[in-house]
């Protein structure tokens, strides 16, 4: 009997020794490993598992691909609100990616959700990220300043330097406008679930003036404790709770 107990305790100790590194390996998946695990689960149509893996990867890091895939999982789980959030984030990270644009337009078609009208000028500028436009605008602006100031300092100002300065200035203004147009809207948010009441006042007892659908685009106006005062696309205003709405640009 005593021998049996010894063998059992040794066996348990051995199993614990073996299992502990295994569990620690399972817990310490890198974002890339979690991403690939999510892809495998998605391919096998295990949507919940795929979501768990993608969210593991999403804890501290993100990428356009991860946002796109998260949107796919939420779409499969019939949560258009979350799908919108992640595809909009993917679009912010890679505005020129046609797949993301396509999926967003399809989701709009399926859900009937109307987005806010784009800022003026978005239709005229290529879909590059705001950062690139900022870089070009900065370079052009400083070049314009340099071409204007430096020839004056060395007293070699002529029509060519003036013209070059004017052109650089024009490029700076146009690209700055493009950067403004493409700059992500920090107030844009998405309603997460269907039948979300748009309350008249920021209290749980307040009657709902209307119900919002999952994926509805809204803009934050101001915060009242755990309520957001929001404006819908059709200019209705009201209150929703924190849990019912998700900002496209995560709050810091």
């Amino acid at each position: 009997m005593r021998n049996h107990l010894k063998i059992m305790s040794l066996l348990i100790a051995f199993l614990l020794l073996v299992a502990s590194p295994l569990t620690s390996v399972a817990q310490s998946l890198t974002p890339e490993e979690a991403f690939f695990a999510g892809n495998v689960a998605f391919k096998e149509q295990r949507w919940e598992d795929a979501l768990t893996h993608y969210l593991t990867a999403y804890q501290a890091h993100t990428s356009a691909a991860l946002e796109l895939n998260l949107g796919h999982v939420y779409h499969k789980l019939e949560q258009p609100g979350n799908a919108f959030v992640h595809w909009r984030r993917a679009h912010l990270l890679q505005p020129q990616n046609p797949d993301i644009q396509h999926n967003l337009s399809i989701l709009h078609s399926i859900t009937g959700v109307i987005p806010f009208p784009p800022r003026w000028g978005v239709a005229f500028v290529p879909s590059l990220s705001a950062g690139i436009y900022v870089l070009i605008a900065s370079l052009a602006g400083w070049m314009a300043l340099g071409l204007w100031v430096l020839p004056r300092i060395i007293r070699k100002e002529n029509i060519i330097t003036r013209l070059a300065s004017f052109v650089a200035c024009a490029v700076a203004v146009v690209t700055a406008a493009a950067a403004f147009a493409m700059w992500p809207d920090p107030k844009l948010a998405i309603i997460l679930s269907d039948e979300t009441p748009l309350r008249i006042a920021p209290t749980a007892e307040s009657p709902a003036q209307t119900k919002l659908t999952s994926g509805a685009h809204v803009r934050f106006m101001e915060r009242h404790h755990n309520y957001w005062h929001i404006r819908t696309v059709d200019n209705q205003t009201g209150y929703v709770t924190d849990n019912e709405v998700e900002p496209v640009i995560p709050h810091q």
Partner: protein, 594 residues
């Protein structure tokens, strides 16, 4: 007094001093209401006063809830600390403002709370609320204009809330009218209101009015009342004078209440209710417009349905579109347009995107819509039949490859995208970025970095070019630069010649170096080549060059002339020595500023 008596006296003294300390240790809580009797709408105060608290103790109460009394959510807080017999204790006083809505005798219930790990009882307190003072009824009035007939569930009515304030009373609004009663929905109250003057009971009144739309949402006898917060100067209170001599009255806060309106709300009849009824109550006309009747399979067209009229436009659901084979119908874009925000009249527009999948259909789907007219108490079927269309086979073939996408503004574009097929997930994660910096802040950081670097580069360029230009413009600096450059050039040539023992070369270059260096001292800036030995000596003397250097210059000039004109010879050692002297002369002359 013996020793035992002294000990007893000492013990009594200790007990005497300890008594307040022990008395302090017991935490006590008192509650009170000020005033103990008040009128409906008046603002009262509920005070909880905790004494003998330890320094670390705090006083936190559960939220106050008493039917008929509206408590302000956060109390004001007063904390005081006192020291008795070196023992510190605190007092905390919490004060809630509250407004009674209904008359009666109320008990604000007590609570069992824990302070410093011990249970403490907050005692209950009573307050009596009387009807709104008669004197105020002749000064203020809040009325709601409602129809004198039963309403139907979902029927929108235009209503007016009017606040009357006697013209001789100074008053200000503290809040907008607030609705009591959850049986009605109401359009948001606007900050803007109409004002006019009316006469009532031989008094002039200022009248403020708000236009709203009310919609009952359940059947039965529904109660409705409005309240509004005002601040006024009590006309009955005596006026006092402040230190500047201005008269001022007593300012009071008041929550003015309208009468309780009782409204009969009827359910919509179930008899003869059309299948296409979707909650529209009012009086409407429906029109359906197809953007094109000649189309090809795969081409998107728009079916615009406009419901115009007067009623509960916000609560109208989308019309029933017949599920006709051969059509693919997408969810509509919905827009509600009212004449004014508080107007019953307006229209609701539904824009459906339709795509013909086959050439079979010869008409567009029927549009089903029915509404309930409260004036006639009957349902009206306003359905519209489909329109004739001609559909040809599209060039793109199957519907699955149709050119369709909904752009951000909701109109179809011509991109070749498949309507039902999402692009697949990505197989590779791509470039990772930190979540907290990926959106927006990364752009901002890069913008700041780039602009910072460019600003520094620009500043450096401006500074160096400015310096260069200034030196170029300054003739004396230019002359100095020229002389020093020439002197350095000849000095190095002379040193080379000294090393190789070429006396003639050395002395020629040495003389040229000294001449260039001394020319720097010439205010007239004569050409360097035009200076002769006497000029050099004179210039050096005028510039107050020290005597040793002048002597060395003089010697050099003599040696130059002796070699140049008489062909005198020097050995290599003396040339090396002279080279050293020459360097010292040039160095000294460079330090002298003309």
């Amino acid at each position: 007094m013996n020793r035992q008596q002294m000990n007893m006296t000492f013990a009594r003294l200790i007990l005497f001093f300890l008594f307040p300390v022990t008395a302090l240790s017991a935490v006590t809580i008192e509650t009170a209401v000020y005033p103990q009797a008040l009128a409906v709408g008046q603002t009262g105060q509920y005070v909880v006063h905790a004494k003998n608290l330890e320094r670390s103790d705090d006083l936190t109460l559960e939220p106050l809830r008493v039917d008929g009394l509206i408590f302000h959510p956060s109390p004001s807080r007063q904390v005081s600390t006192q020291m008795i017999n070196f023992n510190t204790s605190r007092e905390i006083r919490l004060t809630w403002n509250f407004t009674p809505r209904i008359e009666g005798l109320y008990t604000i219930p007590g609570q069992q709370i824990t302070i410093g790990g011990k249970p403490v009882q907050v005692p209950p307190v009573q307050v009596r609320v009387t009807a709104q003072q008669e004197v105020l009824k002749g000064v203020f009035d809040l009325q709601v204009n409602l129809p004198q007939r039963p309403l139907y569930v979902g029927e929108s009515i235009a209503s007016e809330i009017a606040l009357l304030i006697r013209s001789d009373v100074q008053a200000q609004l503290r809040s907008l009218p607030e609705k009591e009663g959850d049986g009605f929905l109401q359009t948001p109250m606007s900050n803007e209101f109409r004002t006019d003057r009316v006469r009532k009971n031989n008094y002039e009144f200022n009248r403020a009015s708000w236009q709203i739309l009310l919609t009952p949402i359940r059947a039965g006898e529904e109660k409705l009342r409005y309240s509004i917060g005002i601040v006024y100067e009590d006309p009955s209170a005596p006026r006092s004078r402040d230190i500047f001599g201005f008269q001022q009255g007593r300012v009071e806060e008041l929550m003015l209440l309208s009468p309780h309106y009782s409204i009969t709300v009827l359910d919509l009849p179930t008899q003869d209710r059309p299948a296409s009824f979707n909650g529209a109550v009012g009086n409407y006309q429906l029109s359906a417009v197809l953007s094109d009747t000649q189309l090809r399979t795969g081409d998107p067209i728009t079916l615009t349905i406009t419901i115009a009229g007067s009623g509960n436009l916000d609560r109208i659901g989308q019309p029933a579109i017949e599920a006709l084979d051969g059509w693919r119908i997408y969810q509509p874009k919905v827009e509600t347009v009212r004449e004014r925000p508080d107007s019953l009249n307006g229209k609701k527009i539904f824009e459906f995107i339709l795509i013909a999948e086959t050439t079979t259909p010869n008409r567009s789907p029927d549009v089903g819509f029915a509404y309930f007219n409260p004036d006639t108490a009957r349902y009206v079927d306003a359905s519209v039949p489909g329109k004739q269309v001609t559909i040809e086979q599209g060039t793109t073939g199957l519907a699955g490859s149709m050119n369709f996408t909904r752009q951000q503004n909701g109109t179809p574009s011509n991109q070749s995208l498949q309507p039902d097929q999402l692009r697949p997930p990505m197989t590779h994660p791509g470039k990772w970025s930190n979540r907290s910096e990926a959106f927006g802040s990364a752009n901002l950081n890069s913008a700041l970095t780039v602009n910072g670097v460019l600003a520094i580069l620009m500043a450096v360029a401006c500074f160096s070019l400015h310096r260069r230009e200034r030196s170029r413009q300054n003739l004396s600096l230019q002359w100095q630069h020229h002389c020093q450059q020439s002197a350095q050039k000849f000095l190095s040539q002379a040193q080379t010649a000294a090393k190789s023992g070429a006396a003639q070369d050395f002395i020629g270059n040495a003389f040229a170096a000294v001449r260039a260096s001394v020319a720097n001292l010439d205010i007239k800036r004569r050409p360097i080549d035009s200076l002769v030995a006497d000029d050099l000596i004179e210039l050096a003397q005028n510039a107050k060059v020290n005597d040793d250097t002048i002597q060395l210059i003089r010697n050099l000039c003599v040696e130059y002339e002796s070699i140049h004109y008489a062909g005198a010879a020097f050995d290599r050692d003396s040339l090396q020595r002279k080279s050293g002297e020459l360097q010292a002369i040039i160095k000294h002359l460079d330090t002298i500023i003309p």
